[in-house]
């Protein structure tokens, strides 16, 4: 647990410093246990989609990201105040707004620690989600299949280099 909170601290400090996107990414966090709390998660799910919208991906990966973030107890205060600022304290109404309006609301918060935290967490969690990997056609570990040596290592045919 001590190590986990060190990593969270690393991530928190990283997102507050401009240009530390790399540190934020490399402070990758473990998956958190799924949390309760519908309101917060619904907002986080919507925010995750607004940050990186993949309409064909379905909602489940975004729900997983939201659950992960909501379970980060050490960020609870940051998330609560950030979401309040995002929605103007009117979560239900905000969730029903137009996408363009929601995105503009998010953009207004771009320089805030809350936004940078959300961006880093969403990016890391969403792009490590296995459903996302399938959607992107990312081969991931081919280890279970003996590596790429016999599985498409050298199979593109559009270069005209042979």
């Amino acid at each position: 647990m001590a190590i986990q909170s060190e990593r969270r601290a690393l991530l928190r400090l990283a997102v507050l410093v401009p240009g530390s996107a790399l540190a934020a990414h490399f402070g990758l966090l473990p998956r958190f246990a799924s949390a309760q709390g519908g309101g917060v998660e619904a907002l986080l799910e919507r925010a995750a989609y607004l940050l990186f919208p993949f309409p064909e991906l379905g909602s489940e990966p975004y729900a997983r990201v939201a659950a992960s973030i909501a379970a980060d107890e050490s960020a609870a205060a940051l998330i609560e105040s950030g979401l309040a600022e995002l929605t103007g304290g009117a979560a239900e109404r905000w969730l029903k707004s137009e996408e363009a309006v929601q995105r503009a609301d998010l953009e207004r918060l771009e320089a805030t620690p809350f936004f940078q935290y959300l961006l880093a967490m969403t990016r890391t969690q969403l792009f490590n989600d296995r459903a996302m990997w399938t959607y992107l056609g990312y081969g991931g570990s081919a280890m279970g299949f003996g590596g790429y040596v016999d599985r498409g290592l050298d199979d593109i045919d559009w270069l005209g280099d042979d």
């Binding site: 060190e6 690393l10 790399l22 607004l50 593109i156």
Partner: protein, 515 residues
């Protein structure tokens, strides 16, 4: 494994078990010299091909503070394991060419820098490079074939060809292309950066440390964090103070000390080792300890191709383009750079391609993940005296040791070099039909060099032509901190070759009763 007594002052203490420390251990213990190796990290068991899972297990995450052009958090990416950063490295095994031992020739007249030539006679290097390549199983040498072409390499090579370049090559790599030395051939998993699960990649753990362990002259103490090196009344290194795995302070006496804690922690330990005789830190009469930090100048270029690439398939950094390495007066900057191919997993791509970016346009680009390709622009950076490692005046880490502060600013020469490199990379990718090319900032520094550099004179550096401290006759620098300049080559092969050469010199001095 042998166990030596802390009071045994006949042992050589090697600090760090990476490319340099592991090699020193093997070369000395293998010759019958007793060695105690102190490693801050733990043995790495159980490697899985999952970057997110492996990162916290491989990486030096103890606090370091970056300043200047470095990110404030996590400025340096090095390893904390038995085997050091070699568990993580992607195994490009390249020799420094002779011209890079004489950087004053082409940096001639450059202002605000502290460039010096290597004091090592270059003619000696061929022998040690050959020994290193044979010991590491470098594919593309010794009759071992290079690793096979991958899609991502072919894209880079074809783009290079289309813009008139002729020096696209698969690199010589410390990755088995055939089974040898008890380790299998590469299966192209493509997670080299997270540790090779089958040990096709050479590491200090699977080769030199294993060799040292087979001798009867070696003890590895892992989870041992070095705080200071002590000296006796004659100014000779006499003991190493460290915290053991239980956090208890220990003092191991030493006949000779080899510093191989990487170019950040080697000077850090010395700066932390002050005394009346060495008020600025052990071996630091010149004031050069920690200074002249070089790391190569880097930029990342990613591009979306009109057709799939599947860049994640296979060895991460298989090849590169060498046409731009040689110095050319007409380009408006000194020295040169190369392109090195890269591949990123989806999360790393999203972070590094367009940092800070989000929204539907970026998501649409990332949805074409399978069409991405990319390269690193990697160039020589001239030494600057204020690019340096220092100790934070008040902040301490979990061991009670002052946190290192690493200051680094790109020289104007490096900025011009990278601008030129980015233009060429854009041309290369456009020749293949790309209209979406993105330039990003450098990753955390993985090639860390120069901070206790070898020099011809004690006025200019910390150590002599065999990496022996000018101020302390039984203190040696066996890692990248000894480098006099960065050149354009990934440093690990040179670290191993120089360590082999240093070990031979130490053995000779021992037989002459000088050490």
């Amino acid at each position: 494994m042998r166990q030596f007594d802390n009071e045994d002052d006949s042992v050589v203490v090697v600090i760090g078990s990476g490319a340099g420390g592991g090699t020193m251990a093997a070369e000395l213990a293998g010759a019958g010299v007793d060695v105690v190796c102190l490693e801050a990290g733990a043995p790495l068991e159980d490697i899985v091909t999952d970057n997110a899972a492996m990162f916290p297990r491989l990486t030096w995450l103890d606090r370091r503070i970056g300043s200047g052009d470095l990110p404030a958090e996590f400025p340096v990416w090095s390893g904390k394991n038995v085997g050091g950063t070699t568990l993580h490295w992607t195994a490009s095994a390249l020799r420094l060419p002779e011209e890079h031992f004489f950087p004053t020739r082409y940096f001639d007249g450059l202002e605000d820098c502290s460039v010096i030539d290597w004091p090592v006679p270059y003619r000696e290097m061929a022998h040690y490079y050959a020994l290193a390549e044979r010991s590491m199983g470098v594919s593309g040498t010794n009759g071992w074939p290079k690793l096979p072409k991958s899609n991502n390499y072919r894209v880079l090579a074809e783009g290079a060809r289309r813009i008139g370049l002729t020096e696209a090559h698969r690199s010589t790599m410390a990755i088995n292309s055939v089974a040898r030395d008890g380790r299998p051939a590469c299966r192209q998993y493509g997670f080299c950066v997270s540790g090779c699960p089958i040990n096709a990649k050479w590491t200090a753990a699977n080769t030199p440390l294993a060799k040292a362990a087979r001798s009867d002259h070696f003890e590895l103490r892992d989870r041992s964090f070095v705080l200071t090196v002590e000296h006796d009344s004659k100014g000779r290194a006499s003991a190493v103070v460290y915290l053991d795995a239980e956090g208890r302070e220990q003092r191991q006496r030493a006949r000779l000390v080899c510093m191989a804690a990487n170019a950040i922690d080697t000077p850090r330990i010395l700066l932390n080792s002050t005394s009346r005789r060495f008020p600025e830190g052990l071996a630091n009469r010149s004031g050069h300890v920690g200074r002249h930090y070089v790391k190569h100048t880097f930029g990342i270029v990613t591009a979306i191709m009109p057709e799939p690439v599947h860049w994640e398939r296979g060895t991460d950094n298989l090849g590169g383009v060498d046409d731009f390495i040689a110095h050319d007066d007409k380009r408006g900057f000194a020295s040169g750079f190369k392109f090195e191919q890269v591949a990123f997993d989806p999360a790393t791509l999203a972070t590094l391609s367009r940092p800070g970016e989000w929204g539907p346009e970026y998501a649409e680009q990332l949805s074409r993940y399978s069409h991405y390709t990319g390269l690193l622009v990697m160039g020589e950076d001239p030494s600057q005296p204020d690019n340096r490692v220092t100790l934070h005046p008040t902040e301490k880490d979990q061991y009670g040791m002052p946190v290192p502060v690493i200051h680094y600013v790109d020289h104007e020469n490096s900025r011009r070099m990278k601008a030129f490199g980015f233009e060429r990379a854009e041309e290369l990718y456009e020749s293949l039909g790309s209209t979406e090319v993105f330039v990003g900032p450098p990753p955390p520094a993985t090639h860390n060099m120069g901070t206790c550099r070898m020099a011809a004179s004690p006025d200019d550096g910390v150590s002599d032509a065999i990496g022996r401290a000018f101020d302390v006759p039984n203190l040696f620098f066996s890692d990248g901190s000894a480098f006099s300049s960065s050149g354009v080559s990934n440093p690990t092969l040179s670290i191993v070759a120089l360590a082999m050469r240093q070990a031979e010199n130490i053995r000779k001095l021992m037989s002459e009763r000088e050490l």
